[in-house]
């Protein structure tokens, strides 16, 4: 589980700012003290829960003594501020220190243990602390606890005055500081070390990361604000009770952690507010309060382990699905004239078992058929230049992949993968009444074209690809075939910010211009799930079958890459084993970048026509094994 990416770049920035403004304005708008009290409690619980999440969810340490650390903070404040008369503010700071110190003590036995033993040791520790507090009754007040603890004041102004508004803002400030702290720590060396240990423990240790030190520091980091929150809590309620060590608190905080979503910062924060409200409301019901919370914990853990945060993500995904499919549906009719004018072909919708697919078809059944497959986040109009230039000699057909262009969205699990796309291509061709076709695939479309040919259900008379490194073993060849370009990362990303959409459009097709405006406008319609699922489902495609087909060389095959395509590892493509490839090697279209047919249409058309001619004539000279295959 990871924490979220840099805040400024995510789409969560606006909701966060809104929330902050709301929280700051809240006490000025609503005067009711009871709800303010609940909010203050919520701040405290949010701090404790997120700190616990840091050691449990992020750090993977099954620390069940966390609530005891909170209690340590409480008692630190009580003893220092009341018994010893220390300034309350210093006492709060001290709460953080003692908590961190106790965390260090706890971490010693935990350093070399794993799994259940950590749970047992930490539970034993918290019981131990509880026993110490109960037994040292002269200091801690034993089972009765301590009361009338000093309250917080600033220059004589009591924070509990004015409906406790002072406490409200201190609490809010603490929460904000806590979140900032956690945010920074997860991005610090400690955070990176923790992630490294979780991903591949032995490799990390081999690289010099000390597991013991990481664990100790993680526990201490989780304790700092917990102790502060405990001391603040004691200052606010003015009571220190051994109940803080008890099951009630543990269950409450565990429920906040789990229902918010372990491993995320914001989940427990949101859940803290919700659950504090509910818990306070239920406190009048005695035993039922604990029962309800416990039942809720079980339900969440069993049925929806991701908690609130995961639910929010899913809702976001559902909303985005509605957005993109509505966009597609609207544009289907409204933009049709424009699209048909662009390509010069008629557009129609066909129904496949995956989704509704939009097909552009010049229609002449007497001309040889030519199928174009577009790439990730693009649309069939990417080929509008070829539609215009080649419709005299060929019947040009192109379709929008599901989740793209004006095709509909599909069930992501079954639809958004290359095998399904190939099946859709077959359905499109069947609907056109075509059983012999030449195919050109661009980028993702190249894999679709390869898959279509490998499946062998349709007779492919010529096969050309651009911007597509053929793969054999996945995911290794993915790393080999592509350059680690930062924009390639976007290819599998679900949600694009405006900047990201622009960047991807620039690299994948062309920088924005009158020419490419349509493509850029189309990009945000793409169903983000198509990008994500294509990556996750990449292993189910029969890549070796495609490679075998290329090695056998029975279909006339050509590669027409842009010479300066930034994504491709051109060396890798050149070294593959092609049984029979046009002109003996992958061809370069100068300056074509990732979409040579778009950026250099004349040069591309020249080469493409030549290839189609040679394929048709069955010229042996034009098709040779690649140099590597020849020497094997």
């Amino acid at each position: 589980m990871r924490y979220d990416p840099p805040l400024q770049k995510t789409q969560g920035l606006w909701p966060l700012l809104l929330a902050v403004v709301a929280l700051v304005a809240y006490p000025f708008v609503f005067e009711a003290t009871y709800f303010r009290h609940v909010m203050i409690l919520a701040f405290v619980f949010a701090i404790v829960a997120t700190s616990w999440d840091f050691s449990l969810g992020f750090g993977g340490l099954f620390n069940f003594a966390h609530v005891a650390l909170f209690a340590v903070g409480i008692y630190t404040y009580a003893i220092l501020a009341k018994t010893l008369g220390v300034s309350p503010w210093l006492a709060i700071l001290a709460g953080g220190f003692t908590s961190a110190f106790v965390a260090l003590l706890i971490s010693i036995p935990v350093l070399r243990l794993d799994g259940i033993y950590v749970i047992l040791v930490t539970i034993a520790f918290s019981q131990l602390l509880y026993l110490i507090v109960i037994s040292a009754s002269s200091v801690t007040g034993g089972t009765s606890g301590m009361v009338t603890l000093p309250t917080l004041t600033i220059n004589g102004y009591r924070l509990s005055g004015d409906g406790r508004i002072g406490y409200y803002f201190v609490g809010l400030g603490l929460l904000a500081a806590n979140i900032l702290f956690l945010y920074l720590v997860t991005r610090s060396r400690l955070g990176r070390a923790t992630v490294a240990l979780k991903d591949n423990k032995y490799y990390a240790i081999a690289r010099g990361i000390s597991e013991a030190r990481t664990r100790a520091l993680t526990l201490m980091a989780s304790a700092v604000f917990t102790g502060l929150a405990g001391a603040f809590y004691a200052a606010y309620l003015r009571v220190a009770s051994p109940d803080a060590f008890g099951m009630g608190f543990l269950t409450l905080l565990l429920s906040i952690l789990l229902m918010g979503g372990a491993g995320t910062i914001w989940g427990p924060v949101i859940a803290a507010f919700g659950i504090s409200v509910i818990s306070e409301w239920l406190s009048g019901f005695g035993a039922w309060q604990n029962i309800v919370i416990s039942v809720a914990i079980i339900l969440v853990v069993v049925l929806y382990p991701g908690g609130l945060w995961a639910a929010i993500q899913e809702i976001r995904e559902a909303v985005d699905n509605v957005r993109t499919s509505t966009l597609a549906r609207l544009r289907r009719n409204r933009g049709r004239a424009e699209r048909e004018a662009l390509t010069g072909a008629t557009e129609r919708m066909i129904r496949t078992r995956f989704a509704e697919i939009a097909v552009a078809d010049t229609g002449e059944a007497d001309k040889p058929a030519l199928l174009f497959c577009h790439g990730n986040s693009a649309c069939k109009e990417a080929f509008y230049k070829q539609f215009r230039s080649m419709s005299d000699t060929h019947r040009v057909i192109a379709f929008d992949l599901p989740g793209h262009g004006v095709s509909g969205n599909g069930d992501p699990e079954t639809t958004y993968n290359v095998a399904a796309y190939a099946e859709i291509a077959e359905a499109v061709l069947a609907d056109c009444g075509v059983d012999k076709v030449a195919v050109f695939g661009w980028s993702l479309g190249g894999y679709v074209a390869l898959e279509l040919a490998a499946r062998g259900n349709v007779e492919v008379t010529a096969l050309a690809i651009a911007g597509t490194p053929p793969l054999a073993v996945v995911p290794e060849d993915f790393g080999n075939g592509y350059n680690p370009d930062s924009h390639l990362v976007l290819a599998g990303k679900q949600y694009f910010s405006r900047q990201e959409a622009r960047d991807y459009g620039n690299s994948a097709t062309a920088p924005i211009s009158a020419d490419s405006a349509f493509m850029h406008r189309n990009l945000p319609r793409t169903d983000g799930r198509a990008r994500v699922y294509m990556m996750t489902k990449i292993s189910i495609i029969d890549w070796p079958r495609q490679m075998r087909m290329l090695a056998e060389g029975r279909i006339p095959f050509a590669i027409l890459n842009g010479s300066d395509d930034p994504f491709l590892n051109h060396g890798y493509i050149a070294r593959l084993n092609y049984g029979s490839i046009w002109r003996g090697a992958p061809q370069d279209i100068m300056g074509g970048r990732h979409a040579p047919f778009f950026n250099k249409p004349d040069a591309f058309d020249l080469a493409f026509y030549a290839f189609l001619r040679d394929a048709e004539s069955g010229s042996d000279a034009a098709f040779r094994p690649s140099r590597m295959a020849a020497t094997a």
Binding site: A310, T536, I540
Partner: protein, 259 residues
Amino acid sequence: MSEVMLDVRDLSGGYEPVQIFQHVDLQVSAAESIGIFGPNGHGKTTLLRTLSGLIDPWQGDIFFDGERMNREGRRGSRKWRNFNYDAVTRRRMDPKKVARAGLIHVQQGNLLFPELTVTETLSIAVSAASGRRGWSVAEVQQLFPRVAERRDHKIRFLSGGERQMVSIAAGLIAAPRMLILDEPTLGLSPKIRQELCGAILEIRKTGLPIILIDQDVAFLEQIIDTLYLFDHGRISGRMSRDEMPDHETLMVMLFGERH
């Protein structure tokens, strides 16, 4: 042409969310034994574990002796990614049902029950067979004399080869109508391997159909009638015993020159 005993239709599966094998079609009749040959890590063991019910198939059907082993219907689309469907849907395969139908899977490696004695292990197999006609303890002890010798020892004090024999013995007692042996000679010394092969040949001769996974082509040749090639999660070839070439040629068939 005798009846098909094990009928695997269009089976796909893996470990959520990674799919390991797809579209496997396999038919084994009661009169034949088959072998599955292929490189490690490509899904053979996962396929076997799906057949015996330890993991659920994602799609496809498994019929044994005419009876459907998996629950009907494909794995439903998991619309909400974070919902724990496993908690509310029933398992699609029950290993108990598969074993009691007679499809016995002897796993790779042979940990078995480290703290039980050989006798205890065999008696567990006896009680698991509950009423169905399997091999008797006397019969397996005749087949594997070592097992009889070491019967009061705990399994963890046995050598690798002896443990393997106990595994197979237990499998035989559990009343198999078809036996799956996953790499029975893996990591064993040549002498023990010889013994085991001989014993497995004896088992074969009793008419029990065997599904054998092994890297030793010579061994395969003795036992099986049909060989299936398996790589990258799919069955990529099939040949009868007569058509089987040597190990090197087989590897070339699987990978081409590039392996």
